[in-house]
Symmetry: C2
Amino acid sequence: MTATAKQETASKAITKALGDREIYVERIFNAPRERVWKALTEPDLVAQWWGRGNKLVIERLEPFRGGHWRFVEHTDQGVFGFEGRFREVTPPERIVQSFEWDGMPAHVAIQTMTLDDLGDGRTRLVVTIIFHTQEERDGMLQSGMETGMNESYAALDKVLATTA
Amino acid sequence: MTATAKQETASKAITKALGDREIYVERIFNAPRERVWKALTEPDLVAQWWGRGNKLVIERLEPFRGGHWRFVEHTDQGVFGFEGRFREVTPPERIVQSFEWDGMPAHVAIQTMTLDDLGDGRTRLVVTIIFHTQEERDGMLQSGMETGMNESYAALDKVLATTA
């Protein structure tokens, strides 16, 4: 694979609806799995990418079974809180957690994140998200989630480059 | 309806599986709707029945959209924490909230509680609970949930009698 092809595969996430109530996301990062894992679980690193360049206050980040997380993003459009709890944290390969946005309290999705070591210094992140209802899933897809997620992952690319 | 029949309808909840991922519960209480509503939402009253006679510590109870709740039950078998968040609180008739038990973190069910005024001083409570998966629903049904719930509702009967 050429350097250009590598760059292309790393630039945008595959996002698609899966079944009635799920979303599937796949994204390749040009960094080894341990480095991606740290960027997903260490507060000072998460603060640099999750908010897509916006100020992110990490009120809680307890990456272990039963631990909670709560992030508050400060944007030009307002302040947005997100929170959830960890069901499973298995370094450096798997995190299962709940996710909800303050604007739709108690609409809870479950995210399963898996990191695959591609063996060439790259890492594939696969995220499946299951909702209670199809309406919640479709609402998420229509909310601009894909754009926001790609902005976050682009910021994550930069964090991974600087932590090399 | 005779007094005896009234007593019988009030004594045990109807509990059944609904579809693939839901549980349906119905229970009649011998008290007006406003009184049942208070017992479901005021901390000092909830503390008297939710724990089925066990000590219940109400760490949080914020019955409004976006508010959180967290209860800790102290039993002979150990200490059990439960928590969630309110999606909708519409006095005196409807509460929608998330529910999870610390022992299975981020396995989140959504409970919709509706109080119907039966017009004769009695109130029908209908609860539907939706899970993300059929396995979670079946696990809840097999967990002794029905017994525990009937114990809680029997304790609630007593609270309602004393707040008359």
